[in-house]
């Protein structure tokens, strides 16, 4: 697994959406709906997470989409160990942001 990509708020939203149901493969538009991200933003994020080895993707089973009469979907899910890495990374982000919010508490009178 290579380096964790930069955790922007959008990347964090995607990781949280995937972590909500780590065992369930999710497809692009499904994730976009949940995170509120447009496809133009979502796919580069998914590509970066995939490049980092955090998630992996696969095409939908032909039987499923042929029965439904629609194009096949590309599903994304955590790679082995990816969910745990994502949990740790998000915990780090939460710690850092809470520490920063304590340090940067506004002081009255200025």
């Amino acid at each position: 697994m290579s380096d964790m990509p930069r955790l922007t708020p959008q990347t964090i939203a995607v990781l949280r959406a995937l972590l909500a149901t780590p065992a369930t493969p999710r497809w692009g538009r499904d994730l976009g709906r949940e995170t509120g991200l447009k496809s133009g933003s979502l796919h580069p994020i998914l590509a970066r997470l995939e490049q980092a080895g955090l998630i992996e993707s696969h095409w939908e089973d032909p039987a499923a989409h042929e029965d439904a009469g629609r194009p096949r979907r590309r599903y994304y899910r955590f790679a082995p160990g990816g969910a745990q890495t994502a949990h740790l990374a998000l915990a780090d982000v939460t710690l850092v942001s809470s520490a920063a919010s304590i340090r940067l508490h506004p002081q009255p009178g200025y």
Binding site: K38, Q51, G53, E56, H58, R70, R74
Partner: protein, 153 residues
């Protein structure tokens, strides 16, 4: 000075020479590093400008394509333009991606466009989707060329 011995003058001269050598020794690496930083910074600026230019060009091309499709489809157009032109523009965006990634994302984007239509999304939403993909494609292409994607099929 006339009171100084020859040995003292030699020591002074050696001291000055040492200072000059030190200064040159420090200045040369600093100069080289500065030159490298300037060249690298200039190169990065060019790369960023090229990326921005490419994104603008694709976005402008897509707008022109939609307008042309609207004109050629005889006025009823935006809906028909997006229905007929959307897949073509997604093909254009996928064409920027390297190797098999283009095929993969083309199919993925076309599937999402199909789902948007199936969900009853208005033509504006679909046009917005296509434009979003077009604008993101150059960034995705650069990212994929720099780092190959791993996938499980």
């Amino acid at each position: 000075m006339s009171g100084h011995s020859r040995g003292t003058r030699v020591r002074h001269a050696l001291g000055v020479a040492g200072m000059i050598i030190d200064a040159v020794g420090n200045a040369v690496p600093t100069f080289v590093l500065t030159c490298l930083a300037v060249v690298f910074g200039y190169g990065m600026t060019l790369v960023l400008a090229a990326m921005g230019g490419m994104a603008l060009a694709v976005a402008a091309a897509s707008v022109v394509a939609i307008v042309l499709l609207k004109i050629t489809n005889g006025g009823a157009a935006p809906r028909a333009a997006v229905r007929r032109g959307g897949p073509g523009l997604l093909n254009l965006a996928a064409g920027l991606l390297p190797g098999t990634a283009g095929v993969r994302y083309r199919e993925e984007w076309l599937g999402e466009l199909y789902d948007l239509r199936a969900d009853g999304a208005p033509w504006r939403s679909r046009a917005h989707y296509v434009l979003g993909v077009l604008c993101a494609a150059p960034r995705l292409a650069i990212s994929m060329r720099l780092h190959p994607t791993r996938a499980v099929d």
